[in-house]
């Protein structure tokens, strides 16, 4: 199993550009999450999904969109990139059992200039 994979690993965007961060898991997990990590701030939840077709906002959803058309994929969309979105983005997934471990991808480092 590859686990949770994220692409790209690094990206530089100009202000106002858009992009999609890809996340795929091969563990057949129903739950998937997107976090952003900023220095000294820990991880903040952007969006999450409890199954295909079901998504909900986390703590910091503004400026982002998600979709979940399949169990495996959970892409994160930035429509109009802003410098405040410079961060490291992590995708995670977990099984449906109560309080199962979340498995994290390696992250995408995004810089908006």
């Amino acid at each position: 199993n590859a686990g949770v994979t994220q692409t790209p690993k690094f990206r530089i965007l100009k202000i106002g550009q858009s992009m999609t961060l890809q996340c795929t898991q091969d563990m057949n997990h129903n739950y998937m999450y997107w976090y952003r990590q900023d220095p000294g701030m820990g991880l903040k939840l952007i969006y999450y999904s409890v199954g295909a077709g079901i998504t909900d906002k986390g703590e910091v959803p503004n400026g982002y969109n998600v979709s979940r058309s399949t169990t495996e994929d959970f892409p994160l969309r930035l429509e109009l990139a802003a410098p405040s979105q410079t961060s490291v983005y992590f995708c995670a997934s977990r099984d449906s059992g109560a309080y199962d471990e979340q498995f994290f991808g390696p992250g995408t480092r995004l810089t908006v200039l």
Partner: protein
């Protein structure tokens, strides 16, 4: 709302010395607590978790954490650290279902020196 406070942003320690990384939480519901570790340029990995039962939980690499309800704490300890323990450690509390969202602390960087 649940929250987690990690009291130290950085903890320098010499190899083979003991270490304690402090974590306090606030929660209005049943508490489920986690420690995750992040090695440089990697994602997070679960180190250990407290769901119920014994208040002392252990990891396979010698770390342990004790759930203390009266002090709302979940401190992480290791009696003798190695250079390879250098990493950032995150304490987290879980929301109840659905979603089981994790609320993370700001992280503590453990630097082990030789």
């Amino acid at each position: 709302a649940q929250s987690v406070t990690q009291l130290d942003s950085q903890v320098p320690v010499f190899e083979e010395a003991p270490v304690e990384l402090r974590c306090n939480y606030s929660s209005s519901v049943s508490v489920y607590l986690f420690w995750y570790v992040q090695y440089p340029n990697q994602g997070l990995q679960l180190l250990l978790k407290y769901l119920s039962g014994s208040t002392l939980v252990e990891s396979i690499n010698g770390f342990e954490a004790e759930f203390n309800k009266s002090q709302t704490s979940f401190h992480l300890r290791k009696p003798s650290v190695h250079i390879s323990d250098t990493a950032e450690y995150f304490c987290a509390v879980s929301d109840p279902p659905p979603g089981n969202k994790l609320v993370f602390g700001a992280g503590t960087i453990l630097r082990v020196k030789s």
